[in-house]
């Protein structure tokens, strides 16, 4: 019998606003 699949790891996600802030700060840092 196949072993039961191991539980998936929950990936924590930033909010949409946090992603936009990170993106903006990365764009400012890069030339």
């Amino acid at each position: 019998p196949r072993p039961p699949p191991r539980p998936r790891i929950l990936l924590k996600a930033p909010t949409l606003a946090e992603m936009e802030e990170m993106n903006l700060s990365e764009e400012e840092e890069s030339p």
Partner: protein, 394 residues
Amino acid sequence: HPVNIPRREKDFQGMLEYKREDEMKLVKNLILELKPRGVAVNLIPGLPAYILFMCLRHADYLNDDQKVRTLLTSTINSIKKILKKRGDDFETVSFWLANTCRFLHCLKQYSGDEAFMKHNTQRQNEHCLSNFDLAEYRQVISDLAIQIYQQLIKCMENILQPMIVSGMLEHETIQGVSGVKPTGLRKRTSSIADEGTYTLDSILRQLNAFHSIMCQHGTDPELIKQVVKQLFYIIGAVTLNNLLLRKDMCSWSKGMQIRYNVSQLEEWLRDKGLMTCGAKETLEPLIQAAQLLQVKKKTDEDAEAICSMCQALTTAQIVKVLNLYTPVNEFEERVSVAFIRTIQTRLRDRCESPQLLMDTKMIYPVTFPFSPSCVALETIQIPGSLNLAFLTRV
């Protein structure tokens, strides 16, 4: 010579392998530089979403959480970027709303969550994500889809707005009911609109264009229903607000014209199979205002009939229409002050907002009901026109 042995489709696992350093090229070619009217017009609906999901599946398969995160973040940021750049182009916004929703549905359908697996084939169940639970990223994608939806509505409203008053109120299509001159001769009407004048046909043609493009993009039918309901609300609200501020729009013949125009809009809904989407109900205030222009307005019985007929209008709106009402000829009298007082007395116990005008900026909350796909990921082939040769079907 190396022999190219074509793999059978049953050997493909429905994933796309890519190198980490190609991620930027992926989002550039698939999102930032993809033109809905160019290459994308020949793609199967939702293809960009499936491609992104198949790449995600491979990163998940490798148990590489960093790769999963950066792909999702780049995808989300690129969609936001293209919508910032071309957010006033209806086709672009519609295309990315359809694809964002399809991506969200894929994240659910292949999540491994039994609630979303009911309609999966055995093969689709085998393609569920192996290592990561992306429930929190699904929430982010859902929030993104809401933003795109609001942007789409704004875009469509900007296109429709110049047509509404002209098409719904000003342009007269019904021959013979426009006002009669005191000499008894009919006013000259024309079935041909002046150049630059919007007619009801202009509105219907525009609705057709919106509907057709959304269908081409593979927008979920449930979402199309919500969009149409919202558009009809806007048309009704803008038309009614204009009527409430213009004496020349408050006559028996205008009431007739409005009812005809509304019937044409209903016919459009019927033609598209959208009679149950709630759009017709959003026109109820306008319909009742048009009826109010046509009913008798003299006796107490008339007042009672008006009060029970105009449930979707506020007291302020009913009183305004009655005050503005303009008789068609010199034989008909204006509505008497006493009659208006009778109406106000009858309606004084209503609990309602005192506002006169409808809120044309109100947007109904949107939902994205789960809509699984029957597309088999292992059969998807990427057209060369997308310039994604660096992706390997696995």
